[in-house]
Protein backbone atom coordinates (compact mmCIF):
# COMPACT_ATOMS: atom_id res chain seq x y z
CA UNK A 1 0.00 0.00 0.00
CA UNK A 2 2.84 2.34 0.87
CA UNK A 3 4.20 1.80 -2.63
CA UNK A 4 1.13 3.57 -4.03
CA UNK A 5 1.64 6.55 -1.73
CA UNK A 6 5.33 6.84 -2.59
CA UNK A 7 4.54 6.40 -6.30
CA UNK A 8 2.05 9.25 -6.03
CA UNK A 9 4.40 11.54 -4.12
CA UNK A 10 7.53 10.96 -6.20
CA UNK A 11 5.72 10.88 -9.55
CA UNK A 12 3.80 14.00 -8.63
CA UNK A 13 6.98 15.73 -7.50
CA UNK A 14 8.75 15.02 -10.80
CA UNK A 15 5.74 16.44 -12.69
CA UNK A 16 5.75 19.48 -10.39
CA UNK A 17 9.42 20.06 -11.27
CA UNK A 18 8.43 19.85 -14.94
CA UNK A 19 5.65 22.40 -14.39
CA UNK A 20 8.09 24.76 -12.67
CA UNK A 21 10.53 24.44 -15.58
CA UNK A 22 7.69 25.38 -17.93
CA UNK A 23 6.19 28.24 -15.88
CA UNK A 24 9.15 29.75 -14.08
CA UNK A 25 11.91 28.69 -16.45
CA UNK A 26 9.78 29.62 -19.51
CA UNK A 27 10.79 26.42 -21.31
CA UNK A 28 8.68 24.86 -24.05
CA UNK A 29 7.29 21.38 -23.28
CA UNK A 30 9.88 19.85 -25.63
CA UNK A 31 12.73 21.59 -23.79
CA UNK A 32 11.27 20.55 -20.44
CA UNK A 33 11.01 16.89 -21.41
CA UNK A 34 14.52 16.90 -22.92
CA UNK A 35 15.89 18.45 -19.73
CA UNK A 36 14.20 15.79 -17.60
CA UNK A 37 15.49 12.97 -19.80
CA UNK A 38 19.05 14.33 -19.56
CA UNK A 39 18.59 14.65 -15.78
CA UNK A 40 17.50 11.00 -15.59
CA UNK A 41 20.53 9.88 -17.59
CA UNK A 42 22.93 11.83 -15.37
CA UNK A 43 21.28 10.60 -12.15
CA UNK A 44 21.78 7.01 -13.29
CA UNK A 45 25.43 7.78 -14.05
CA UNK A 46 25.82 8.52 -10.33
CA UNK A 47 23.80 5.42 -9.47
CA UNK A 48 21.03 7.48 -7.90
CA UNK A 49 18.04 6.50 -10.05
CA UNK A 50 17.83 2.80 -9.14
CA UNK A 51 17.36 3.56 -5.42
CA UNK A 52 14.54 5.92 -6.41
CA UNK A 53 12.84 3.10 -8.36
CA UNK A 54 13.25 0.76 -5.37
CA UNK A 55 11.64 3.40 -3.21
CA UNK A 56 8.85 4.74 -5.44
CA UNK A 57 8.19 2.01 -8.04
CA UNK A 58 6.07 3.41 -10.86
CA UNK A 59 6.54 6.89 -9.40
CA UNK A 60 10.04 6.68 -10.81
CA UNK A 61 9.52 4.41 -13.85
CA UNK A 62 6.52 6.22 -15.37
CA UNK A 63 7.88 9.80 -15.66
CA UNK A 64 10.05 10.46 -18.70
CA UNK A 65 13.18 10.72 -16.52
CA UNK A 66 13.17 6.92 -16.40
CA UNK A 67 13.76 6.90 -20.17
CA UNK A 68 17.12 8.61 -19.68
CA UNK A 69 17.81 6.28 -16.79
CA UNK A 70 17.13 3.10 -18.74
CA UNK A 71 19.18 4.29 -21.73
CA UNK A 72 22.19 4.86 -19.48
CA UNK A 73 21.45 1.67 -17.60
CA UNK A 74 21.45 -0.48 -20.72
CA UNK A 75 24.64 1.16 -21.97
CA UNK A 76 26.42 0.66 -18.64
CA UNK A 77 25.28 -2.96 -18.27
CA UNK A 78 26.75 -3.83 -21.69
CA UNK A 79 29.85 -1.72 -21.07
CA UNK A 80 30.47 -3.75 -17.92
CA UNK A 81 30.58 -6.91 -20.03
CA UNK A 82 32.14 -5.76 -23.31
CA UNK A 83 33.95 -2.52 -22.53
CA UNK A 84 33.59 0.63 -24.61
CA UNK A 85 31.74 -1.06 -27.49
CA UNK A 86 28.96 -1.93 -25.07
CA UNK A 87 28.16 1.75 -24.56
CA UNK A 88 26.69 1.84 -28.06
CA UNK A 89 25.39 -1.72 -28.37
CA UNK A 90 23.60 -1.76 -25.02
CA UNK A 91 21.97 1.65 -25.27
CA UNK A 92 18.43 0.52 -26.16
CA UNK A 93 18.57 -2.85 -24.45
CA UNK A 94 16.42 -1.89 -21.46
CA UNK A 95 14.24 0.76 -23.02
CA UNK A 96 13.14 -1.08 -26.15
CA UNK A 97 9.54 -1.52 -25.00
CA UNK A 98 8.80 2.20 -24.67
CA UNK A 99 9.99 3.00 -28.17
CA UNK A 100 8.53 -0.05 -29.88
CA UNK A 101 5.21 0.42 -28.09
CA UNK A 102 5.10 4.06 -29.16
CA UNK A 103 5.83 3.18 -32.81
CA UNK A 104 3.41 0.24 -32.98
CA UNK A 105 0.55 1.94 -31.17
CA UNK A 106 1.17 5.18 -33.01
CA UNK A 107 0.84 3.38 -36.32
CA UNK A 108 -2.26 1.50 -35.22
CA UNK A 109 -3.80 4.77 -34.04
CA UNK A 110 -3.16 6.32 -37.45
CA UNK A 111 -5.00 3.36 -39.01
CA UNK A 112 -7.99 3.57 -36.69
CA UNK A 113 -8.51 7.19 -35.71
CA UNK A 114 -9.16 10.25 -37.80
CA UNK A 115 -7.78 13.67 -37.05
CA UNK A 116 -10.29 15.77 -35.16
CA UNK A 117 -9.02 18.82 -37.00
CA UNK A 118 -9.60 21.16 -34.10
CA UNK A 119 -8.72 21.31 -30.46
CA UNK A 120 -11.69 21.91 -28.20
Amino acid sequence: MYTFIFAFLVGGAICAIGQLLMDVGKLTPAHTLSTLVVAGAILDGFGLYEPLIDFAGAGATVPITSFGNSLTHGALAEAEKHGLVGVVTGMFEVTSSGISAAIIFGFIAALIFHSKGKVN
Binding site: A16, S34, I64, E80, G98, A101, A102, S115, V119
Partner: protein, 151 residues
Protein backbone atom coordinates in the same frame (compact mmCIF):
# COMPACT_ATOMS: atom_id res chain seq x y z
CA UNK B 1 9.67 52.57 -29.56
CA UNK B 2 12.89 51.67 -27.83
CA UNK B 3 13.70 48.08 -27.10
CA UNK B 4 13.63 48.61 -23.33
CA UNK B 5 10.21 50.27 -23.56
CA UNK B 6 8.92 47.33 -25.53
CA UNK B 7 10.24 44.91 -22.94
CA UNK B 8 8.53 46.80 -20.11
CA UNK B 9 5.21 46.78 -21.95
CA UNK B 10 5.63 43.12 -22.84
CA UNK B 11 6.24 42.23 -19.22
CA UNK B 12 3.17 44.19 -18.17
CA UNK B 13 0.97 42.54 -20.78
CA UNK B 14 2.11 38.93 -20.31
CA UNK B 15 -0.21 37.34 -17.76
CA UNK B 16 1.61 35.77 -14.83
CA UNK B 17 0.81 32.06 -14.77
CA UNK B 18 -0.78 30.96 -11.48
CA UNK B 19 2.38 29.15 -10.36
CA UNK B 20 1.04 27.48 -7.24
CA UNK B 21 -2.20 26.26 -8.81
CA UNK B 22 -0.39 24.94 -11.89
CA UNK B 23 2.20 23.09 -9.82
CA UNK B 24 -0.52 21.56 -7.63
CA UNK B 25 -2.49 20.41 -10.68
CA UNK B 26 0.64 18.91 -12.24
CA UNK B 27 1.51 17.20 -8.96
CA UNK B 28 -1.98 15.76 -8.55
CA UNK B 29 -2.49 14.44 -12.10
CA UNK B 30 1.13 13.31 -12.48
CA UNK B 31 0.91 11.50 -9.17
CA UNK B 32 -2.37 9.83 -10.16
CA UNK B 33 -0.91 8.61 -13.47
CA UNK B 34 1.99 7.08 -11.53
CA UNK B 35 -0.45 5.40 -9.13
CA UNK B 36 -2.24 3.85 -12.13
CA UNK B 37 1.18 2.77 -13.39
CA UNK B 38 1.88 1.20 -10.02
CA UNK B 39 -1.39 -0.73 -10.19
CA UNK B 40 -0.45 -1.99 -13.67
CA UNK B 41 2.98 -2.99 -12.31
CA UNK B 42 1.37 -5.05 -9.56
CA UNK B 43 -0.91 -6.66 -12.13
CA UNK B 44 2.13 -7.80 -14.17
CA UNK B 45 4.00 -8.95 -11.06
CA UNK B 46 1.07 -11.03 -9.78
CA UNK B 47 -0.27 -12.55 -13.01
CA UNK B 48 2.88 -12.68 -15.12
CA UNK B 49 6.47 -13.59 -14.44
CA UNK B 50 7.85 -10.10 -13.85
CA UNK B 51 9.96 -8.91 -10.96
CA UNK B 52 10.22 -5.44 -9.49
CA UNK B 53 13.33 -4.87 -11.63
CA UNK B 54 11.79 -5.91 -14.95
CA UNK B 55 8.22 -4.73 -14.51
CA UNK B 56 8.96 -1.20 -15.78
CA UNK B 57 8.97 -2.34 -19.42
CA UNK B 58 5.47 -3.88 -19.72
CA UNK B 59 4.09 -1.10 -17.53
CA UNK B 60 5.41 1.58 -19.87
CA UNK B 61 4.05 -0.25 -22.92
CA UNK B 62 0.60 -0.61 -21.33
CA UNK B 63 0.51 3.04 -20.33
CA UNK B 64 1.43 4.08 -23.87
CA UNK B 65 -1.42 1.88 -25.12
CA UNK B 66 -3.87 3.64 -22.79
CA UNK B 67 -2.61 7.02 -23.93
CA UNK B 68 -3.13 5.92 -27.56
CA UNK B 69 -6.81 5.27 -26.85
CA UNK B 70 -7.22 8.56 -24.99
CA UNK B 71 -5.40 10.49 -27.70
CA UNK B 72 -7.44 8.89 -30.47
CA UNK B 73 -10.68 9.79 -28.73
CA UNK B 74 -9.45 13.36 -28.30
CA UNK B 75 -9.54 13.16 -24.50
CA UNK B 76 -5.82 13.63 -23.86
CA UNK B 77 -5.76 17.26 -25.02
CA UNK B 78 -8.39 18.11 -22.42
CA UNK B 79 -6.35 16.41 -19.72
CA UNK B 80 -3.30 18.31 -20.93
CA UNK B 81 -5.07 21.64 -20.76
CA UNK B 82 -5.89 20.99 -17.13
CA UNK B 83 -2.75 19.24 -15.93
CA UNK B 84 0.07 20.88 -17.90
CA UNK B 85 3.27 19.04 -17.07
CA UNK B 86 1.25 16.54 -15.03
CA UNK B 87 0.19 14.85 -18.25
CA UNK B 88 3.29 15.70 -20.32
CA UNK B 89 6.04 14.41 -18.04
CA UNK B 90 4.76 10.83 -17.49
CA UNK B 91 5.44 8.48 -20.39
CA UNK B 92 1.80 8.96 -21.40
CA UNK B 93 2.88 12.38 -22.68
CA UNK B 94 5.55 10.74 -24.82
CA UNK B 95 2.94 8.32 -26.18
CA UNK B 96 0.52 11.17 -26.78
CA UNK B 97 3.14 13.12 -28.75
CA UNK B 98 3.88 10.12 -31.02
CA UNK B 99 0.26 9.07 -31.49
CA UNK B 100 -1.12 12.56 -32.13
CA UNK B 101 1.61 13.27 -34.71
CA UNK B 102 0.83 9.96 -36.41
CA UNK B 103 -2.90 10.68 -36.57
CA UNK B 104 -2.44 14.28 -37.62
CA UNK B 105 -0.22 13.51 -40.62
CA UNK B 106 -2.16 10.50 -41.84
CA UNK B 107 -3.75 12.54 -44.63
CA UNK B 108 -0.28 12.97 -46.18
CA UNK B 109 0.00 9.21 -46.64
CA UNK B 110 1.43 6.38 -44.59
CA UNK B 111 5.05 6.69 -45.67
CA UNK B 112 5.51 10.43 -46.05
CA UNK B 113 2.89 11.40 -43.47
CA UNK B 114 2.74 8.86 -40.66
CA UNK B 115 6.19 7.37 -41.11
CA UNK B 116 8.22 10.53 -41.32
CA UNK B 117 6.24 12.69 -38.88
CA UNK B 118 5.62 10.23 -36.06
CA UNK B 119 8.61 11.41 -34.03
CA UNK B 120 8.28 15.05 -34.97
CA UNK B 121 7.46 16.04 -31.39
CA UNK B 122 8.90 13.13 -29.43
CA UNK B 123 12.14 12.92 -31.42
CA UNK B 124 13.94 15.50 -29.31
CA UNK B 125 13.38 13.37 -26.23
CA UNK B 126 14.92 10.32 -27.90
CA UNK B 127 17.84 12.27 -29.37
CA UNK B 128 18.77 14.06 -26.17
CA UNK B 129 18.15 10.98 -24.06
CA UNK B 130 20.41 8.88 -26.26
CA UNK B 131 23.18 11.47 -26.57
CA UNK B 132 23.24 12.23 -22.84
CA UNK B 133 23.13 8.52 -21.96
CA UNK B 134 26.03 7.95 -24.37
CA UNK B 135 28.12 10.70 -22.77
CA UNK B 136 27.31 9.57 -19.23
CA UNK B 137 28.00 5.90 -19.97
CA UNK B 138 31.19 6.75 -21.86
CA UNK B 139 32.55 8.89 -19.02
CA UNK B 140 31.70 6.27 -16.44
CA UNK B 141 33.20 3.41 -18.48
CA UNK B 142 36.44 5.34 -19.00
CA UNK B 143 36.56 6.22 -15.31
CA UNK B 144 36.08 2.56 -14.39
CA UNK B 145 38.84 1.54 -16.82
CA UNK B 146 41.14 4.08 -15.22
CA UNK B 147 40.20 2.66 -11.84
CA UNK B 148 38.77 5.92 -10.52
CA UNK B 149 35.31 4.51 -9.75
CA UNK B 150 33.76 1.04 -9.63
CA UNK B 151 30.55 -0.28 -11.23
Amino acid sequence: MKESQYETIEQQMTPTPPYVVNVLKAFLIGGLICVIGQAISFFYMIFFDFTEKTVGNPTVATIIFISMILTGLGLYTRLGQFAGAGSAVPVTGFGNAVVSAAIEHRTEGYVLGVGSNMFKLAGSVIVFGTVSAFVVALVKTVLVMLGVVTW
